[in-house]
Amino acid sequence: MTALLSIEGLRTIFRQHTGDVVAVDGVDLSLDRGETLGVVGESGCGKSVLSLSIMRLVPPPGRIAAGRIRFEGTDLLGLPAPAMRAMRGNRIAMIFQEPMTSLNPVFTVGRQITEAMRAHDPSLGARTLRSRAIAALGRVRIPAPERRFEEYPHQLSGGMRQRVMIAMALACQPDLLIADEPTTALDVTVQAEILALLGELQREAGMAIILITHDLGVVAEVADRVAVMYAGRIVEEAPTAALFDDPQHPYTLGLLGSIPRLDQARARLLAIEGAVPPPFALPAGCRFHPRCVFATSACAAREPPLAALSPGHLVACIHAPVEQSLVPAARARTDE
């Protein structure tokens, strides 16, 4: 079975007067039907540019400089613009973090949902559009969808607006949904509802989801597989259980150590020193090495490849697993 989506060597750059800024640098990923892939990373790691690249919606001066994005075997990067437009919404849909800025404040909810439906099938009549839109609102568990159809975005709560966005995204039953921080702006109880809703809709429709988030808790609950990104590259990729049970990359370890946990008391959080480097001033060698407690001189010498440590578990660290390869050397260093 071929993968639904496969990305090879994707490189997205932003041309600046000071030179090219590489936001996504050599990313390989694949995704099966019905699968949920979590993409985790902090601001500036390239996770949002990755999702925009898949949609071919990278805003200028950004452009995709290299790589292939195959969707059911078709290279999206080679498609003419009208064919790509037909792909968006119909086959690949996207929802964003901030539902208020993604909805147009001067049109009713109903008009915005039917607009998308009409764009994809101009033959539909007003009555059919209306009943389909109300059905779509009902599917995302919006109470009284007939009334909400007539309302404006400002009349809805944050959770309701995100439901409307999901209803619009799912109106054409896409095979792939890209959700970019879909619950970050929402309260925890609303977040739990939206995540549960996405899970239900996914099971009903069998669509694949790429969930972009900074929250390891969200990933643990919903993703089948996780890719951890740092400074434009994937540094670790594994099935979700393997990532949490056997985290390998020092950056993944740092993220796990940084989050306060309900199930464990810690005197101090294990913060990662320093900050993410700006994409125009990336360090040589491993991009994480200036912040890495395990770093040796070899880490600065060359960039580690993303290699399989066990089937399905890829790590870009020359020292993984750290306790075997590194501890004697690191001990020696701290004793100096």
Partner: protein, 358 residues
Amino acid sequence: MNKSSAEPLLSVSGLSKHFPVARGVIFARRLGFVRAVDGISFSLARGETLALVGESGCGKSTTARLVLRLLPPTAGRIRFAGADITALSGEPLRALRRRMQIVFQDPFASLDPHMTVAEILEEPLTVHRIGDYASRQARVALLLGMVGLSRYHAQRYPHEFSGGQRQRIGIARALAPGPELIVCDEPVSALDVSIQAQVINLLGELKETLALSYLFIAHDLAVVKHVADRVAVMYLGRIVEIAPKDVLFSNPRHPYTRTLLAAIPRPDPHLEPTPPAQGELPSPLAPPPGCHFHPRCPFAIARCRTDDPPLATLAPDHLAACHRATELAPAALPGRKTGLAPNAARRLSLYAALSRPS
């Protein structure tokens, strides 16, 4: 730790803030009041961290502004270090502000882009007429060191710093006049995970070295569990449960506290996700009758729809506003004892051993 004999640093009783809501400009018609804060009482001991938690619109930030006297209360009293400060004005109020400061959520919006870091940190000293020029410069250098920044950062502008560094500047500014109480209004929610941990650790260290007290406003219960001594849970302008941290997390008595705890996504893929709570926060303009939480409450009975439950004492330190507080079954979060997987724990302890102690 003898709280009963020592007077609390801050105590608030029956505090309310009602905002009028009107429609129309010329012939304005009053629609009613939003009870943003609706008769809350709590106290904060010296050296203690009390967290106020709740979802957007629960009144936690309004409470912070009332305590700091940035907003006039509709009713209630605020006492600080033994004195009633509810009606303070003029010079005594200005003198009070030196003793209570705030750290804001958004480190991008709360620093003046036209001022250098040195000017930002010096301003509170000038306002409160603390020291002369030389001693103020020395204090700026000291403050930078306290929050983990370097002396050469003093001449830079806020835009030259990352989010985490800006929040450090915001903390240094709050520390400048030497306050006893710092209100932290969601100080880490705008920051990335790894930076969040740095700032949380910094706040913890400063509290120890400077003997500070924190009123910590947050929506993230995992962060709160890490930093707080006691926790007050707010819902629609009221405190629905208040207890020492360990009691609140191990034995929550109010159904809303349980809902919040269950909703936190936990970083453990082996746990079954808990089914989410139903419904949304009702409009604060027209809260439901009886217990405000009853439309969303899985334990609601007929009485909850008519009688408003008072905040009742369950144990000396543990109060909850629920008719059924004593009859609810213990609520243990599934898998709470598991913690990290063995491999993760082993590597994290190596990580910790190699981390530079700051």
